[in-house]
């Protein structure tokens, strides 16, 4: 047994540290020779280490590449939102801990906005949990309510974290794909639908929850009243929970309406609805989200929260509360950011779609959200010589980044193993980008066929 030498007194701490460092390195050598390192990962995270974002955000970090991949705005958040945060920095108290389940002024503001939207009373203290982004809400909900032996229905394509989070909770994901109505010729996100009989077949006595995402990432589908009713009927029949990811709730384009499944009869008591400040106010870096639902479900999310990170940052919550107060007051006014942002994005959506068509690609025009999927098979880019086992869309995106300096995300990143073939001809573009970014994309797309 080696003990650290005590004869450092004369030379001080630095010498001691150097000697310890050298000692520990020599121990490392002998230790690794004699015992295998047994400290591997726990079962719950087995196989969950890889991640599409780690791969593609690294690639797209090159500033010469026009980045339409990861879903983050490069437009500025509204100035009043930034100003609220600047104001908050001056208030001492707001640099210290706040209420664990959500800063009082924020949960109050959220309850006001959502009471109006949902048409029901929402208690700010018992019916709301503030989390670190919608991501944190998904995690808290799944950890609170899902466990080994449960099945969770996930609609494909899906925001990629649903599957690993369900697996980390020990449960089994059961996939059901959105299918294109018009035999592969899709001009709109509305063409992508669930087959009701197929959906019904996925429910059984083990089904604990279904995860719904509307408006949908990546397709941009806005589920209609009828489609939600089909899902609701099955939830009620099988006594299943609904985890409703509605982060893009304000981003719906003309002719479409965002409907909250929790407002359908019989659904409030079994639904957790998730929202996001990042998507609402174009501040993804604030990482604030919320879960709203009945006390008998939210209380379990709160238990998870108090055992995971306990409280969210105070200054950001206060600034967000003020921003919500501002927009709550003008919810009857078209200038309310909830509506003005979607108007701004609709123009970008239309421009993006036009440019893609002109380049010979087939975009699926989304009814909501800020993503657009594109069928690239029409270009017939032969990548069979690319010696990788990756799906076609992964290879296409890498080729596009290298040769066209334009990035996107491959759609098969959003699918379960069975459906990769179905979706590997699609890639996803993000269009919540400033004009100069879209201008640069335009140049690339206009010159596409000239190479």
């Amino acid at each position: 047994m080696l003990f650290a030498s005590r004869s450092f007194c004369c030379h001080g701490i630095r010498t001691y540290q150097l000697r310890t460092y050298l000692l520990s390195r020599s121990i490392k050598h002998s230790a690794s020779a004699t015992m295998a390192f047994r400290h591997k990962n726990t079962r719950r995270i087995e196989g969950l280490d890889s991640n599409v974002w780690v791969e593609f955000t690294k690639v797209a970090a090159d500033p010469s590449i026009v980045n339409l991949g990861q879903g983050l705005p490069d437009i500025s958040p509204p100035s009043y939102v930034k100003e609220e945060l600047a104001k908050v920095a001056a208030v001492d108290r707001l640099n210290q801990y706040t209420r664990g389940f959500g800063h009082p002024s924020l949960v109050k503001a959220l309850s006001q906005v959502y009471e109006r939207v949902c048409g029901r009373k929402i208690d700010p203290l018992t019916d709301i949990l503030v989390t670190v982004g919608a991501y944190g809400s998904l995690f808290s909900t799944i950890q609170a309510l899902i466990e080994e032996g449960d099945e969770v229905i996930i609609i494909e394509p899906f925001y990629d974290c649903y599957e690993p989070m369900v697996r980390m909770a020990g449960a089994k994901p059961v996939f059901i794909p959105l299918r294109c109505k018009n035999d592969g010729n899709s001009a709109s996100s509305a063409d992508w639908v669930l087959d009701p009989a197929e959906l019904a077949s996925k429910f059984n006595s083990k089904t604990k929850a279904i995860i719904l995402n509307t408006p949908h990432n990546p397709i941009g589908k806005v589920f209609t009243q009828e489609e939600l009713q089909v899902i609701a009927d099955l939830c009620i029949k099988h006594d299943t929970l609904c985890i409703s990811d509605e982060v893009y709730e304000w981003l719906v384009y003309k002719g479409n309406k965002h409907i909250k499944i929790a407002t359908l009869p019989g659904m409030w008591e079994r639904t957790v609805t998730i929202g996001s400040a990042g998507k609402t106010y174009s501040v993804t870096g604030w990482k604030l989200g919320w879960s709203i639902g009945p006390e008998n479900l939210i209380k379990h999310l709160q238990v998870v929260h108090q055992n995971t990170l306990y409280t969210c940052p105070t200054p950001l919550q206060e600034a967000l509360a003020q921003a919500f107060c501002t927009d709550y007051k003008r919810m009857d006014d078209p200038d309310c950011y909830f509506y003005s942002l979607s108007r701004e994005l609709e123009g970008k959506r239309d421009r993006m779609a036009r440019l893609l068509k002109e380049a010979g690609l087939k975009p699926v025009v989304p009814d909501g959200g800020y993503f657009m999927i594109v069928d690239v098979s029409t270009l017939n880019v032969d990548l069979s010589n690319v010696d990788e086992k990756q799906p076609y869309d992964y290879k296409f995106v890498k080729w596009m980044i290298a040769s066209k300096k334009l990035s996107a995300i491959p759609l098969s990143a959003f699918c379960g193993p069975e459906t990769k073939k179905q979706f590997e001809k699609y890639i996803r573009f993000c269009f919540i980008k400033k004009d100069s970014t879209l201008d640069a994309a335009e140049v690339i797309l206009k010159n596409w066929n000239k190479q």
């Binding site: 995270i45 280490d49 500025s76 945060l85 600047a86 001492d92 991501y135 989070m165 604030w286 940052p313």
Partner: protein
């Protein structure tokens, strides 16, 4: 509004089994009580003085700059400027060459760092040694991960005659500690400086723990959030710098405690890549990114401290100096009225024996609430002074071992400490008149 009185009829429990036994939380109860009744809050651990100017200025600068992309996602495992300066700063202190991308991960406070550690390394059936008294979340997080907490107490040795008790008088029994290690032991949680006692583990004590970790091939989760808050010339020693320990230790730190900004919720983990890789997996499947702007400001705070390290202007020199004075002020107040303080060697907490005041709160033997809980609640409601009962920091089995102690937080403005003194003086007068 519509009102739907229907309750979901779930034929089985709606919540997951992992939540069993972890729903109660002392803070939820005591924070509410303090908010309702207290005039002077020495309960929950946060400063009531401002965060340092240079930190708040860094935040404001970040906001005022041209770069509005600070409002968007940054690198998931830590904002590059922050992980770079943390690697530099702690690399020097640990005598290790730290790679910012692989040896550092930023978390939502030290709390989330702890969560990642337990989720990454504790499987059902694994045992985790926790030294009592302990920051309460260690036990519930181990349980949530399906692990079994194994407790080993610090025992209070009687101080020399006439001397006040010190946190140094709380010690582990060597043989007892060794007996807690079994084939199923996955990790030991070390918290030095220790919350609630303020104990700063000595080199000898750390060597004892390190030897057992190496012998038993056990991980060490080292919660060092109060690393800068050490008094009377005492040294905070990092167990990861002891022989054989770097490879098996995850060090946890906190900007909230380092820079007196608990509400920013920025923490970090440091360690070898082969341990941190698993923390990254948990992190990317639970919160993924931490807020960008606070990380940017904390990075600038550390840049300043890197330049001023060891100099009189360093916040890490000034803060402990100020807090030591506040500690001594509170010690005097408590001594003067007959509450017996245990002088903390570190942290901003102080535990005191309230036996002299027990007559105000009669014991109720049949009550299943530990005496100090009842005392602390009575004190908040009737005297307006908030503190936390020490048994909150003990396991269920040992809650009644020390029922006459409460924990005070002294990271408070002088005016707050004076107001606490006034309450205590008045209380004492009422008792003697």
């Amino acid at each position: 509004f519509l009102s739907l009185p229907l309750q979901a009829k779930m034929s089985r429990l709606v919540q997951a089994r992992r939540l069993e036994g972890i729903d109660k939380n002392v803070w939820v109860e005591f924070v509410k009580l303090a908010a309702t009744y207290s005039k002077v809050n020495l309960g929950q651990g946060f400063p009531d003085f401002p965060a340092p100017d240079f930190l708040r200025e860094a935040f404001t600068r970040a906001l005022g700059g041209e770069n509005h992309m600070l409002h968007q996602y940054t690198r998931a495992f830590g904002h590059p400027p922050l992980v770079k300066v943390l690697a530099q700063f702690f690399g020097k202190l640990l005598g290790q060459d730290l790679d910012p991308m692989n040896n550092v991960m930023v978390t939502v406070g030290a709390y989330q760092a702890l969560f990642c550690c337990f989720q990454a390394f504790v499987d059902e059936g694994d045992e985790v040694i926790i030294i009592e008294p302990f920051f309460d979340c260690y036990e519930s997080m181990v349980k949530m991960a399906g692990g079994t907490p194994v407790f080993v107490p610090l025992r209070l040795k009687a101080p020399k005659d006439g001397k006040l008790m010190s946190s140094a008088d709380w010690q582990l029994d060597t043989a007892e500690l060794a007996s807690k290690f079994s084939k199923r032991t996955k990790a030991i949680v070390l918290n030095s400086p220790n919350n609630p006692l303020g104990k700063v583990f000595s080199r000898g004590e750390l060597e004892l723990i390190a030897d057992l970790c190496v012998k038993n091939d056990v991980l060490c989760i080292s919660d060092e959030v109060y690393e800068w808050l050490v008094y009377d010339g005492k040294e905070h020693i990092r167990i990861a710098s002891l022989p054989g320990m770097w490879d098996r230790t995850v060090i946890i730190g906190s900007a909230g405690k380092t820079f007196s900004a608990t509400g920013w919720k920025v923490g970090w983990t440091l360690g070898p890549d082969r341990l941190l890789q698993h923390l990254r997996t948990v992190h990317q499947n639970s919160v993924y990114h931490c807020a960008t702007i606070a990380q940017e400001a904390v990075a600038q705070g550390f840049q300043r401290e890197l330049m001023l390290y060891g100099k009189p202007d360093s916040y890490f020199v000034q803060l402990p100096r100020q807090l030591q004075q506040k500690r001594d002020c509170l010690v005097r107040s408590l001594e003067a009225v007959g509450m017996k303080p245990i002088i903390p060697q570190g942290t901003y907490f102080l535990v005191a024996d309230i036996s002299e005041f027990k007559s105000d709160v009669p014991d109720v033997p049949s009550s299943d609430e530990p005496y100090d809980y009842r005392f602390a609640k009575w004190m908040i409601k009737n005297k307006g002074l908030a503190a936390i009962p020490l048994s909150a920091f003990f396991s269920e089995a040992h809650k009644n071992n020390y029922t006459n102690f409460i924990r005070f937080c002294f990271a408070k403005e002088d005016a707050t400490l004076k107001a606490a003194n006034d309450i205590l003086q008045k209380w004492k007068k009422e008792k003697t008149s």
